[in-house]
Each structure stands twice: as structure tokens, then as C-alpha cells.
């Protein structure tokens, strides 16, 4: 069994009347890549700040490496943070920024500069040590922030939406690099994001936050394939929620269920395969998205369904269906996922 890195036990943090963090419990294992995923105001950043020590828990207990840390100030916690705005010290060079924590620990100058240079090398910024943060690009600053947080070899690295300010291509590249870096240094990463793709691609486990509570905590695949609540189903990827009478008619159960848009087939004729759920509707609109086509289908006696169909046929220049066409939707029974009532 691996050791616990960060553990929350019924932690509360209220701001005035707002329950920013509401009885949250979780247990992050050592060397795990753990993600807090949720919309803004869901409590994920407050949880991160509770770990760093910038916020104090009103109730409950916070453990770092099995040690109760509720009343320990940030500078005595073996945890470093990569801030959303990077928080690089503008009056220092890049090298001095990276060496800051070592300077505070009174490590002699030549030694700390050597370590800082190694850290810069690790994030591929060799030779930029003499620059000022203002002279770097956004992506480079983000790497400096990483090097500064990692150079002291903390047990835990906290990352607060670190890729939020970068453009898409750079963000995708950094996702890969971050994951590699985590494997390389072998420490716990706790990562805050509102980007579900980022969470799915990097994390060992994801905690999905909503209104200060964790709605679901599991491995990325489980979060996506078996969402427990309609919030998780809707926030992580796109999902069609079917409830009420239609749910009973289609699945034979009273509880609502979700079905992912990419699991639904659209056909002109009625699908005759066994173990398939069939329902009819009218095309509301068709959106061509390159890799796939997104169709919205109005069910005869139900909601507007989203269907994603892969564009496998490169020759077809016109869409298969048009607005107003009658179509049949079908999916395998196993793809339906029933939510907790």
C-alpha cells in the first residue's frame, strides 16, 4: 500500500455565508497526479490554498504526509505552489527567482545557483538565468515558475491552473511535459483546472468539484464512462441526459441515465441489431467540426439529443442528413449509464 500524501477529513471553509469548501474528504497517494476539476467557484482553488496554508480550515483536519497541518503556516509546509499568474519576483533575475527558496534556506550562493541552473535545465530554459521575468514569454515564465517550485524538492507540488494563460498549442505541449516531469521527479502533483480535457489527459485520479463538494472521485476513465451524477456527466465531456418516462420506456428502469454523443448511431432505417435501444427523432441542426460531425436531434417525445459521428468518409462533400430529416437513433444497451437517484 502506498502512503498518504495529502488527506482531507471533513474539511470546511466558509467565506461569510458561502460554503466554499463543504465537508470535503479525500486521500491523495504519494507520487500521484491528482486533479481538482470543476467550474469557477466550485471550491477547487480554495482546497489547493488550504493545502498550501494560505487558507485556514474552519472545521475538519488536513494531513500532509500523515501529519496534521491545520495550524502550520505556509513557510513551514513541505509544499510548493505554481501560481496561476506565476508570481515571479519582478525585481530579480530568473536565476535568483529559481534560487529564492534556497537562499531563504541559507544555502551558499555558488551551490544554490548551481541547483537553480539544473532546475532551469530540467524545464528546458538553459541560459536564460540572467534575464528578468519581464523579458520572457508566457510559456517561459510558466517554466520558471515550475523550476522555482521544484528546485527545493518539495514532497508535493500544487499547480493552480498553470496552463490557463497559454495558447492552445503550447498548452497541449505543456500537458505532455508536465506529466513527464511528474514521472521524472516522482513527487505528488495536485493540479487545479476547469479544463476537462486537461484533467482527463494527465491525471491518475480526478476529484470533480461542484458547489464546494466533491461530486465524484475516481480514475479518468471511470469519471468519463461512469459519471455518478448528472453534473459530472455534463461537465466532463458532453452527455445526453434522459429522465422520467422516456428513461423508463427506453431502459426499463426509473432512474435517469446518460448516453455519450459518440455512442449513438444515426441511421435512416431502424437498427435491427439485438440489445439495441432505438428511438426516433427529427434533425434540428448539423455542425461540421472536421474530425466529427455534431448533430442535434429533437426526439419525438423527449429532449434535444447531441450525436457525434466520426467523419470517416473523405469523399462525401455533403452531409448525410439535413435539417428536418427523420432519423433513427440507436445505441447498445451497455453504453447507457444510470445515475444515482
Amino acid at each position: 500500500m502506498t502512503n498518504s500524501s495529502v488527506r482531507f477529513e471533513n474539511v470546511n471553509r466558509h467565506f461569510g455565508g458561502i460554503k466554499a469548501v463543504d465537508k470535503v474528504s479525500f486521500d491523495v497517494k504519494e507520487a500521484e497526479f491528482f486533479t481538482f476539476l470543476g467550474p469557477s467557484g466550485s471550491g477547487k482553488t480554495t482546497c489547493l490554498r488550504l493545502i498550501a496554508g494560505f487558507e485556514q480550515a474552519d472545521k475538519g483536519q488536513i494531513f500532509i504526509s500523515d501529519k496534521l497541518v491545520n495550524s502550520i503556516p505556509p513557510y513551514d509546509r513541505d509544499v510548493h505552489t505554481v501560481f496561476q499568474d506565476y508570481a515571479l519576483f519582478p525585481h530579480m533575475t530568473v536565476l535568483d527567482n529559481v534560487a529564492y527558496g534556497l537562499m531563504i534556506k541559507k544555502i551558499p550562493k555558488p551551490q544554490r545557483h548551481k541547483q537553480a541552473e539544473q532546475a532551469l535545465e530540467m524545464v528546458r530554459l538553459t541560459g536564460l538565468g540572467n534575464r528578468r521575468p519581464a523579458q520572457l514569454s508566457g510559456g517561459q515564465r510558466q517554466r520558471v515558475a515550475l523550476a522555482r517550485a521544484l528546485v527545493g524538492r518539495p514532497k508535493i507540488l500544487l499547480l493552480d491552473e498553470p496552463l490557463g494563460a497559454l495558447d492552445l498549442k503550447l498548452r497541449e505541449q505543456m500537458q505532455v511535459e508536465l506529466k513527464e516531469l511528474q514521472t521524472q521527479v516522482g513527487i505528488t502533483f495536485i493540479y487545479v483546472t476547469h479544463d476537462q480535457e486537461e484533467a482527463l489527459s494527465m491525471s491518475d485520479r480526478i476529484a470533480v468539484f461542484n458547489h464546494g463538494k466533491i461530486e465524484q472521485l475516481d480514475h479518468p476513465r471511470v469519471i468519463y464512462e461512469q459519471p455518478k451524477t448528472s453534473f459530472v456527466a455534463g461537465f466532463v465531456g458532453t452527455s445526453n441526459l434522459i429522465e422520467g418516462q422516456l428513461a423508463q420506456k427506453l431502459s426499463g428502469q426509473t432512474s435517469p441515465f446518460t448516453i455519450r454523443p459518440e455512442r449513438i448511431r444515426l441511421t435512416q432505417e431502424i437498427d435491427t441489431a439485438p440489445q439495441t435501444i432505438k428511438v426516433a427523432g427529427t434533425v434540428h441542426d448539423i455542425i461540421y467540426l472536421g474530425m466529427y460531425t455534431r448533430s442535434h436531434i429533437q426526439l419525438d417525445d423527449g429532449p434535444l439529443m447531441t450525436v457525434h459521428s466520426q467523419n470517416l468518409d473523405s469523399n462525401s462533400s455533403s452531409p448525410k442528413f439535413h435539417k428536418g430529416d427523420r432519423v433513427n437513433l440507436s445505441w447498445a444497451a451497455e453504453h447507457m449509464h444510470h445515475l444515482e437517484p
Partner: protein, 267 residues
């Protein structure tokens, strides 16, 4: 394309600027006047003897020494208290924060005569005798405002996560102040301090109420004006005050000009 200024507006601007600045030039000119008491234009002759005359005046030297000491001490007091007040008001939220901020800024908005009378009655109530320190106290009230305003403006433009980052990396509050807060505030404090010094050095009204019999340079100057003799000596001193107050203001303007690119680097 830049908007062109219409010529009547340009002319009016030049006229106003001349109206404001020609007196300075006249003071400069009459500091070299050979005439003792009257201001005839043009001056009948030019001489530098008034500079030598001013140099020999012991009472003037005493006034300059007093003014300099007052300005230096008042500025130091202002830098320390102004910085602390700025940090307290920008970093924390508490009941009455806005009112407190207004109270700190008030002395510079209030007419000096109000501040002066208030301090005078406070001193007599406390039984304080007029001394060097009563002048310093009077000057510090408005010097603090300059430092405070500059520091608050700088703090507002610094990312609050800088302090958190420092704490996060193991620095205590004191180390954070020394290594992160102070270096980021430095130019703002120098700027505020320079302005405070300039303001203190030529302050008249509050000083009149808090100095008792002591003479700072501006008060010495006022007393000289009541005597018709040696008029050019006062012009020499006026030129001196002009330089002493103008230089810090020029330096601080120069410092703030570079401030824009300095403070945007937090991100």
C-alpha cells in the same frame, strides 16, 4: 494621425505658461540686481555681491540648517509610517478601512491653516513647548500622505500572489518583507520621500503655527520681505529654495517615468 492643436488654443497655452513662469525668471534676474531696494526694469546693473552677502548671513545659515533637519526627519518618519499604513490598508480588509485611508490623506487636502491651528491647540493642550519636534510633527502629517499614496499605488499594481509565493517558498513574513515587498516598493518610497522632502522644505503655513520663535528658510524669507533693505538677498534665497525643491521633484518624476515597465512584470 494626431490631432493638431488649433492656433488660438496654442497661443493661450503659451500665454498661461509664460504668466506662470516669468516670475521665476524675474526672481532669478533680480538676484543679480545692483539696486538695493527697488525693482526697476530693466535692472540698472548686474552683480553677484548678493550671493556673497547671503553667504555671510549667520541667521540664514541657521534657518537652512533647521529646514534641512526638519525635512530629513519628517521625510524619514513619513517613509516609515506611510509604508506601514499602506501595507496595512492594502493587504487586509477590516471595518473602517476606507475611512482610515481618508483620514490619512486628509492633511494634504485640508487647508494648512486648519492643520496649523489644530496642531497648535493640541500642543498647548498637551503642554508641549515649541521645538524642532513640533515642526517635524506638523510636517510629517502631510509628508506621510505623499509616501502613503505612492506606496498604495505601487501595491495596487503588484500581484498579491508575490507575497504568497515568497511564503510558499519558505520565507517568513519578515524575510518576505525584506526580499520581496521592500524591493518592489523601493522606487515608490524614494519618489514619495523626495516629494515629501520638497514639500517640507518650503512649507510656510503649518510651520508658522508650530515653530514658535524658530525660523525655517521660508519663514526667514517672509520676515526679510517686511524689511525693504537687502531685497536682492531674498531673491538669492528664493532661487536657492527653488533649486532645493525642484530637484527632488524632477528626480521623482524621472523615477516614476520608468515605473510603468517595472511594475507590469509581476505577471
Amino acid at each position: 494621425m494626431k490631432d493638431r492643436i488649433s492656433w488660438p488654443l496654442g497661443l493661450a497655452t503659451i500665454a498661461v505658461l509664460l504668466f506662470l513662469h516669468i516670475p521665476f525668471l524675474l526672481i532669478l534676474l533680480y538676484a543679480f540686481n545692483t539696486e538695493e531696494a527697488a525693482f526697476t526694469f530693466p535692472p540698472p546693473g548686474l552683480t553677484t555681491k548678493w550671493f556673497a552677502e547671503a553667504w555671510r548671513r549667520q541667521d540664514l545659515w541657521a534657518a537652512i540648517s533647521l529646514s534641512s533637519r526638519v525635512a530629513i526627519i519628517a521625510t524619514l518618519v513619513a517613509i516609515i509610517l506611510g509604508t506601514l499604513a499602506a501595507l496595512a490598508l492594502s493587504r487586509s480588509k477590516f471595518f473602517g478601512r476606507d475611512s482610515l485611508s481618508l483620514i490619512i490623506i486628509l492633511p494634504i487636502a485640508l487647508p494648512g491653516i486648519i492643520t496649523g491651528i489644530a496642531l497648535r491647540s493640541a500642543f498647548s493642550l498637551l503642554g508641549l513647548k515649541y521645538s524642532f519636534w513640533t515642526i517635524v510633527l506638523g510636517h510629517a502629517t502631510f509628508c506621510i500622505v505623499l509616501v502613503f499614496n505612492n506606496a498604495v499605488a505601487r501595491l495596487r499594481r503588484t500581484s498579491p500572489s508575490l507575497i504568497e509565493a515568497s511564503l510558499d517558498l519558505g520565507a517568513s513574513s519578515l524575510q518576505t518583507f525584506r526580499h520581496v515587498v521592500l524591493p518592489n516598493l523601493a522606487t515608490a518610497l524614494v519618489t514619495g520621500g523626495m516629494l515629501a522632502f520638497a514639500l517640507s522644505f518650503d512649507e510656510v503655513i503649518v510651520t508658522t503655527f508650530t515653530a514658535g520663535q524658530q525660523q525655517t528658510v521660508p519663514i526667514w524669507l517672509l520676515n526679510q520681505l517686511t524689511r525693504p533693505r537687502d531685497r536682492p538677498v531674498t531673491n538669492v534665497v528664493a532661487v536657492f529654495i527653488l533649486l532645493v525643491t525642484l530637484l527632488p521633484i524632477l528626480i521623482s518624476t524621472y523615477l516614476t517615468r520608468n515605473l510603468d515597465d517595472l511594475s507590469r512584470t509581476g505577471k
